[in-house]
């Protein structure tokens, strides 16, 4: 029985060898590799993969929303966010700045938990960075700058993040039309966002490939990474040329018209009232409670 089994194995091995010899498959490819890898540092590849993944998942999350969160017209969101930041910047009333922060935190409560965490992390991070930069002024006895600028920075960053996470980017670029921004500029912005996504996914796959093929000690990591950068450059050039050719084929002559229907809903009315209150607070606190 045992002899029969051994003979069968010898027969199989011989058969494989004959097939491989006919097909020129080399011997080393038929053996299992006796390999023990030497450890190497792949921190840069891993960090790059992680940061690209976070950007791409944010863009994916953006594009998945069928409508803008809260159903507010993007033109109003954009206009009042810009106005809000301008008011914050010019205000010299600490009470108004605190009121603005309270308003933002209330709006933040209406978002998803994961969005709240990301927005608070970013805003606090930048606010702490601002404190560190302004610390020398405290040493010279100037407390005013740190108490005014830090909450302003926190609120401005939070406001922009809330806009970005609650309104689709496509709606934001479309809202530019309301402010008489040329259509061709809006087209370029839309294409740029699309290209960031496509090239991001391409570079992510390249980094994955590099990671999968990095099976030992890579003595020239910079060469591989510059190879990826070079391929990305060529890819982006090819994509740009293809887009140009496709646009020409579709009759593009340099003029581009964007059609957007202006809608006004109950949510818009509530949003406008809330922002009118913010403007009122700015005037009231600025006039009567200025320190």
């Amino acid at each position: 029985m045992l002899l029969k089994k051994v003979n069968l194995q010898i027969y199989r091995a011989e058969k494989i060898n004959i097939i491989m010899a006919e097909k020129n498959i080399p011997d080393w490819l038929l053996k299992n590799e006796d390999y023990l890898p030497q450890p190497d540092r792949d921190t840069f590849i891993n960090k790059s993969i992680r940061s690209l993944l976070s950007v791409l998942s944010h863009i994916h999350g953006q594009s998945r929303h069928k409508t803008d969160l809260f159903g507010i017209n993007a033109a109003f969101s954009l206009m009042f966010t810009i106005l809000f930041i301008v008011l914050l910047s010019v205000s010299r009333s600490l009470v108004f700045i605190i009121a603005a922060n309270v308003y933002l935190l209330l709006v933040l409560c209406l978002l998803k938990a994961e969005d709240i965490v990301v927005i608070l992390k970013t805003s606090f991070g930048i606010a702490v960075f601002t404190i560190i930069i302004l610390l020398p002024t405290v040493l010279y006895g100037n407390l005013y700058s740190i108490t005014m600028i830090t909450p302003k920075v926190f609120a401005a960053v939070a406001a922009i993040n809330i806009l970005s996470r609650s309104t689709r980017w496509h709606s934001i670029t479309g809202a530019f039309k309301t402010f008489f921004i040329p259509d061709i500029f809006i087209l370029v912005l839309d294409i740029t966002i699309m290209y960031i996504m496509m090239l991001g996914e391409f570079s992510l796959n390249m980094l994955y490939a590099l990671k999968l093929r990095s099976v030992g000690r890579n003595k020239s990591k910079h060469t591989s990474l510059s190879g990826i950068a070079g391929t990305m450059f060529i890819k982006s050039k090819e994509m740009a040329e293809d887009t140009y050719a496709a646009m020409e084929c579709r009759g593009f002559t340099g003029e581009y018209r964007i059609y957007r229907k202006f809608k006004f809903s109950f949510a818009d009315a509530v949003y406008i009232i809330a922002n009118a209150l913010i403007i009122f607070c700015f005037i009231y606190f600025g006039k009567y409670l200025r320190k």
Partner: protein
């Protein structure tokens, strides 16, 4: 060799794999079939350790593959040497200035002496019949040539398992035929093959086992290739066959067709 048990995975709350279980033995050739977006590519990424399951377990050679283990440089490198992945878009795999360097990239990292590296590169070039491309720049080549180089890069690592994502896409019929024959021979050499495709034309030649995914990201069937190709109702359910009117020597009628036939 590959044991996947009750694995689920989702991309930011969008499910890609739903309670998948499968075992692949050493030397087997398995094809993953299914409609677009059913999770075939995600499963291949999972097998290669690019994504980690949200729930369930994945074992390779008896060892559970976890995020923690893949952070261990030594384990991760040995795992990636044993399992080679040819991406759907071959261009993403090529980042060296010349084809020779591209194929030598893996063996050089493995610490193989340069004369042996040279032999491996030459063998791969001969095997894939791309000697003429030896000193060409990979990004200037055609899609079929890039696919061959991507395969050569993976082969030079001598993996035990070869995973290919849609390997026949974008290739001309002659190159498709060549690749099919190569994969058959490679499998006969005792290596394990895992392929994803919706091209049913060559499947029976490459694999004897098929896993059929449905639109719910689950495995609808795991059976012998011949039986799956005969089960028209099942194939129709997962959009792999279609039905249309056409003419056979003057008589108009309607019946099912496998794609690419």
């Amino acid at each position: 060799m590959i044991e996947i048990t009750n694995v689920s995975y989702s991309y930011s709350n969008i499910p890609a794999l739903n309670n998948i279980s499968l075992n692949i033995s050493k030397g087997e050739s398995v094809t993953l079939m299914g409609p677009n977006g059913c999770g075939k590519s995600t499963l291949l990424k999972l097998i290669n350790g690019i994504v980690i399951p949200d729930s369930g377990s994945y074992r390779f050679d008896g060892e559970e593959i976890t995020k923690k283990k893949l952070h261990d440089s030594g384990f991760s490198k040995l795992f990636h040497q044993k399992i080679g992945f040819v991406f759907q878009n071959s261009q993403t795999q090529l980042f060296c200035p010349e084809v020779y360097d591209e194929i030598a990239f893996g063996p050089r990292q493995m610490g193989i002496i340069e004369s042996e590296v040279e032999k491996r590169v030459e063998d791969c070039l001969n095997l894939l019949n791309i000697q003429a491309l030896k000193y060409r720049q990979p990004y200037h080549l055609s899609e079929g040539e890039k696919r061959k180089i991507a395969i050569a890069c993976v082969l030079s690592l001598n993996p035990e398992v070869l995973v290919l994502d849609e390997p026949l896409n974008g290739l001309d019929p002659r190159t498709q035929r060549w690749l099919v024959e190569f994969l058959i021979d490679f499998n006969k050499g005792g290596k394990t093959l895992v392929i994803s495709t919706h091209n049913l034309e060559f499947l029976q030649e490459i694999s004897n086992r098929a896993l059929l995914f449905d639109e719910y990201h689950s495995i609808a069937a795991d059976m012998e290739m011949g039986r799956i190709l005969e089960d028209i109702d099942l194939l129709k359910k997962v959009n792999l066959v279609d039905e249309y009117y056409h003419e056979h020597v003057g008589s108009k009628h309607r019946h099912f067709h496998l794609h690419n036939y």
